[in-house]
Amino acid sequence: MTYFLIRRFTSLLITLALATVVIFAVMEIVPGDPAQIILGIGATDETLAALRQQMGLDQPLITRYLQWVSGMLIGDFGTSYTYAVPVWELIAERTIVSLPLALIALALSTIIAIPTGIFAASWRGKAPDTGIMGLTQMGIAIPNFWFAMLMVYVFAVMFQLVPAGGFPGWQAGIFVALKSLILPAIALALPQAAILARVTRSALLESLGEDYIRTARAKGLTRSMVLWRHALRNALIPVLTIMGLQFAFLLAGTIIIENVFYLPGLGRLIFQAITQRDLIVVQSTVVLLVATVILINFLVDIAYAWVDPRLHAERS
């Protein structure tokens, strides 16, 4: 087990290092000069050169890469070109919106999906199963922004239960802040829940077809006991994989939903930074997201080992 963890952790560090190289290289290739964008097209060559020197853009590539990476290691992510504030502050201020949003959405999606999947699997081929499968098909097909707008109309405009958009900040009170996150979280969670429910159902049905299920039935266990005690834990592995992927998506892939609800999240930060050629912000945010995804995969690996004893096979 420890060896398994060490190996996974080593590969995590290597992947992360490679990712910083790739991200840096891509940012260098992308056209557009940050100094030019800050000063506008009327700037003279001298002022441009001066600004470049001030921003360190005149240094050789390797030096700049090393400065950037070593800065990040001590928590210095550089200073935003456009906002002239430390990148770290920008990211932190967005993360306190995006992270809770992603967590709520993931929790919602899991709470909806797993029981639904189990229910559908235990009614396999009968009306409840067909009905649920039809609904999940719709959940996957309907774009979440459309669904989001529908919810805004119903819950914010018609019933005025929640705000239609914007984020008051956590200082306005936890309840108030959560209220403005609940619609976007539902909009994000539903399509994810639809996918996860289908995965849960098919994983369960697959493990219900295994030989050990027959052994358990021959032991005298009833159908539902077999499902809960024997099939479910074996079915968790593909479910965990999908959950890991979904969390990574929820954290960063939510630009559209953030735009629909005017939420100051990480997705919008990257989007704005790209349009403004605020390369240092883009670079740092992307690295942070890559790190999160890799870390989540690492956690999923640990969860695998917890679910499946064959993976902690060090005892002989």
Partner: protein, 537 residues
């Protein structure tokens, strides 16, 4: 105790069982023998009432005065695992991989008795001891993957016998196991029957296994009972033609028109060997124990040398994991050896160029155990059979293809069919046809008849024999079945843990084995012929 009367079962429009009658009494072993698709397993599932949803039944299954066909699901749950236990064929998959063996055995005990954790634990330890897994060596916290196939089957038996059932059903309990393990498991079942006075329904396709273990035999064929009676009477009288056919097929030995080609006779005749293997070593990378040390390699084939002469049939026997298949794969150059020499028709295959290897492959073909797995299901027979020729960059004429099919007993219109349209035996014929098209001189046959029913097996052996005599083919015949070796092969090598420990002419090795291991193998493998002889006297 159990009495099945007039049991019929249909799934959709297909009749699976037709008026089955079967009786089992306490303390006796009833052997149910039949070929695949005969309805053996369905009969067992009918007793357990674990049938597929679409099936409809009629008749009665009377167990202790209760008709199981009329029992509610709740009543069946109370019976299953308590009064009726069941053991399945595949020990590797019959246990839940994420639960410890202790949990899995105790679960049934707790379900049926409502015993406390500690109480169930004590009973689990007791039953594990009874099936030969003492808790000191096999703690309850073991997971299935930490046990061998035979040990897992013991756990499955422990689960089935935990409540001391009146009836135990064992569906091919030893088919997936090596012969020595098979003998141990059969012994264990026999002891449990004698100790607990339970009835055992032992289902098998292997007449040898049944003849060895069962008190009574029922023979089933395509859902009909052919005959039933005591083992002794059935084997002695062979009153039904199908019974004698089954016995003949199980002990079938192809008639040889030519003299066997043994290594001794070939060396005496100064024939040069077709294949010569010298000091072959194959290794697999071992498990890394530390980040800083090189993992120790696992030696699957350890310093093996042998020769095959033209026309010779050399058997390679050994238990699973002994390195038989690794050796075959290395000979075909699918896998690289760590060191050694493979000379085929005078060329060293390990130093040969690609084109020389291609040429050598034409003359060296393989037939696998599971033909279906080795065919692309979306290709027609014509393409499958001519596949080796793609390698040789030649096109076969239709006439040659038809010829290849006819040689293995198939017809020309089979060329347009897909593999799924054939039965298991026909697929093995296709695999042989595919091996034959390049006019090989050596065929490596890896368990070519193990997956086949006895009657089909007899036919395939006849076919292989005919081809051997017609074309002077040599075979490297890899098998775990000593019966087939005796029936078909000239020489034999016994392999154990990667080493060849004994070799020589089949009759000599089998009648006068030198090593303890060979003796053990021979003693463990059920020999129908010996049993038949005993019943005659």
């Amino acid at each position: 105790m159990l009495s099945i009367r007039d049991l019929s079962l249909t799934i959709g429009d297909t009749t699976i069982l037709n008026h089955i009658e079967l009786d089992i009494s306490p303390g006796r072993v009833m052997g149910l023998v039949g070929e695949s698709g005969s309805g053996k397993s369905i009969t067992a599932l009918a007793i357990m009432q674990l049938l597929p949803n679409a099936s409809t039944t009629s008749g009665t299954i009377d167990f202790d005065g209760r008709n199981l066909l009329q029992a509610t699901e709740k009543q069946m749950c109370a019976l299953r695992g308590d009064d009726i236990g069941m053991v399945f064929q595949e020990p590797m998959t019959a246990l839940n991989p994420v639960k410890t063996i202790g949990e899995q055995i105790a679960e049934g005990i707790r379900f049926h008795t409502g015993a406390s954790g500690a109480n169930a634990r004590d009973r689990t330890i007791k039953i594990l001891e009874q099936v030969g897994l003492p808790v000191a060596k096999f703690p309850l916290s073991r997971y299935p993957h930490e046990l061998s196939g035979g040990q897992r089957q013991r756990v499955v038996i422990a689960i089935a016998c935990a409540m001391k059932p009146k009836l135990l059903i064992a569906d091919e309990p030893t088919t997936a196991l090596d012969v020595t393990i098979q003998a141990q498991i059969l012994d264990l079942l026999r002891n449990l029957v004698d100790e607990n006075k339970m009835g055992l329904l032992l289902i098998s396709h292997d007449l040898g296994v049944i003849a060895n273990t069962a008190d009574d035999i029922t023979i089933i064929r395509t859902g009909n009972i052919i005959e039933a009676g005591s083992t002794h009477d059935i084997l002695r009288n062979q009153s039904h033609p199908y019974t004698s056919q089954l016995i003949e097929a199980s002990t079938h030995s192809p008639r040889r028109n030519l003299k066997p080609v043994t290594a001794k006779s070939s060396i005496a005749a100064k024939t040069s060997p077709l294949l010569q293997v010298n000091n072959l070593i194959c290794e697999y990378p071992g498990r890394r124990k530390s980040l800083f040390r090189k993992p120790t390699a696992f030696r699957a084939v350890d310093d093996v040398s042998f020769e095959i002469f033209p026309g010779q049939t050399l058997a390679l026997v050994g238990e699973s994991g002994c390195g038989k298949s690794t050796l075959a794969r290395t000979l075909l150059r699918v896998q690289e050896p760590a060191s050694g020499e493979i000379n085929f028709e005078g060329n060293n295959l390990l130093t040969a160029s690609r084109s020389q290897i291609f040429a050598a492959r034409r003359h060296m073909q393989i037939v696998f155990q599971d033909p279906y797995g080795s065919f692309n299901p979306r290709h027609k027979v014509a393409r499958i059979v001519s596949e080796p020729m793609h390698l040789a960059a030649e096109k076969l004429t239709r006439l040659e293809l038809v010829d290849a099919l006819e040689q293995v007993g198939l017809q020309s219109d089979d060329l347009e069919k897909y593999p799924h349209e054939f039965s298991g035996g026909q697929r093995q014929r296709l695999a042989i046809a595919r091996a034959l098209v390049t006019k090989p001189r050596l065929i490596i046959a890896d368990e070519p008849v193990s997956a086949l029913d006895v009657s089909i097996r007899a036919q395939v052996l006849d076919l292989l024999n005919e081809l051997r005599e017609k074309f002077g083919l040599a075979y490297l015949f890899i098998t775990h079945d000593l019966g087939v070796v005796r029936a078909f092969c000239d020489d034999v090598m016994v392999m154990k843990e990667g080493k060849i420990i004994e070799r020589g002419a089949v009759s000599q090795i089998f009648d006068h084995p030198k090593t303890a291991y060979t003796r053990q193998l021979l003693a463990a493998s059920p020999n129908l012929q010996t049993i038949l002889k005993q019943t005659k006297t």
